[in-house]
Amino acid sequence: MLIKYIENFLRALGKPLVGFVSRLGELSLFIIRALYNCATPPFYLKLLLKQMVDIGFYSLPVVALTTVFAGMVIALQTNAGFSSYGAESAVATVVLIAVTRELAPVFSGLMVAGRIGAAMAAEIGTMRVTEQIDALSTLSTNPYKYLVTPRLLAGILVLPILVLIGDIIGIFGGYTVAIYQLEYNAANYINTTINELAAIDVITGLVKGAVFGFIIALMGCYNGYKSRGGAQGVGTATTNAVVASSILILIFNYIITGMIFTK
């Protein structure tokens, strides 16, 4: 009786564990294969450019909107929090650091994950369940090179550019609130911003952008590629892609910040 109970308990414990480990192995193989195919010909430059436009150019509005409001709200909160210690110089510095190090990369990453990660998983997943991926193989075209490689490379290349644009727009958002709502001195604000601007802050943001771009494209492609079973399977793949990439973005954001700014 007791042995039976323990056996059932262990079985319940083991099944998800085995499932998790095999998923992890599958993902590792997918990453290795994808990276190998990034480095070997043939290269589909046209598809890469198309993905860069899709991921980069068409994400500009959402990235601009999220970062401008992020910058604005940080200016308000810093002013509220530091009002007793002379907030005027603090606001410019905090906006600068918060936007370049954290907010621009994280918000760009999350917005692109929602926009692009979902689209990638849905498109590749649909191609999988309608046998279009098998059709690529039968036409002697490597589906990894044709579908996965352009998306991964585009993600890695384009996200840093989006982050850089987000930096500028976010700082501008903080500036407008500080000058027009809190009525700070514009010259002082700009002066503080320029003095405090450090290369490491911006570079951190760009590194994060590249890592997030890789995560978004990887999760989108992987979940799409492995999707099974019709419309429902594609729906699950899309959800998984967005959830997994969002969580991974926040985890890796913490890890990268920890690596660069902990002494």
Binding site: E123, E131, Q132, D134, S137, T138, L139, S140, T141
Partner: protein
């Protein structure tokens, strides 16, 4: 059979606990049209995907022109896979490309033909399957099911393959359109002198396009013979399948 185009021996494949192929033996001669019949879920699709290298079987042997593809280096096997074409059940047309780009896909991507020349070739193949040049610039989603099948057929023959696979070519079509597709299959395969392997459960289609018919049941070939032999066979599996009866040795798992 002497020098078969494709020789499958003792092929096994299981997904988890579910055995799909349980020792399949099959040979296809050069230029021959073999039709594999069988109910849904008997492993027909898995069989052709194994031959095409899309699925790796658990054990067994698949020789193409005498070359053992199982366990071979991917690069070496790729040369043989490159000489295969396939018409998918749902067409599997690339919906991000236009009709002519679909047909010309292999010509542009692998044979490095110029786009202008490839488009001319694509239109030639579209004519061959009874479609006019008007559809060339449409998107696949704008076509009817029968037209999509035709475009899929044009794409499959455009690379002049040695072997063509047809995955349920007439499923989901009305009987007349199904017969049109049958005729197109016969004509196009003969024209390029390819070997053909078709899987279907449409007996009318099987009788029409087959030189030889094999029946797959529970992962094994339970009968094979010519269309003439099919008429005279007393094999209970084949008879039940042809009559479409629920009574007999074939048990449907519900």
């Amino acid at each position: 059979m002497k020098n078969p185009k494709i020789a499958v021996k003792n092929l096994h494949k299981a997904f988890g606990d579910k055995t799909v192929l349980d020792g399949v033996d099959l040979e296809i001669a050069s230029g021959e049209s073999l039709v594999v019949i069988g109910g849904s879920g008997t492993g027909k699709s898995v069989l052709i995907k194994c031959i095409q290298g899309l699925i790796t079987p658990d054990s067994g042997s698949i020789k193409i022109d005498g070359f053992e593809t199982i366990g071979a280096e991917r690069k070496d096997a790729e040369k043989f896979y490159a000489k295969m074409g396939m018409l998918f059940q749902g067409g599997a047309l690339f919906d991000s490309l236009t009709v002519w780009e679909n047909v010309a896909f292999g010509l542009i991507e692998n044979q490095k033909m110029s786009r202008k020349q490839a488009k001319e070739m694509a239109i030639k193949y579209l004519h061959q399957v009874g479609l006019s040049a008007d559809v060339a610039d449409l998107s696949p989603s704008e076509l009817s099911g029968g037209m999509q099948k035709r475009v899929g057929l044009a794409r499959a023959i455009a690379t002049q393959p040695d072997i063509i696979f047809f995955d349920e070519p007439t499923t989901g079509l009305d009987p007349i359109m199904a017969d049109v597709i049958n005729d197109l299959i016969i004509n196009s395969v003969k024209k390029i002198g390819a070997s053909a392997l078709t899987i279907t459960h449409d007996m009318a289609s099987a009788r029409k396009i087959a030189d030889r018919i094999a029946m797959l049941y529970k992962g094994k070939i339970v009968w094979q013979g010519t269309v003439e032999e099919l008429k005279k066979t007393d094999n209970p599996y084949v008879i039940q399948f042809m009559n479409g009866s629920s009574q007999g040795p074939i048990k449907v798992e519900l």
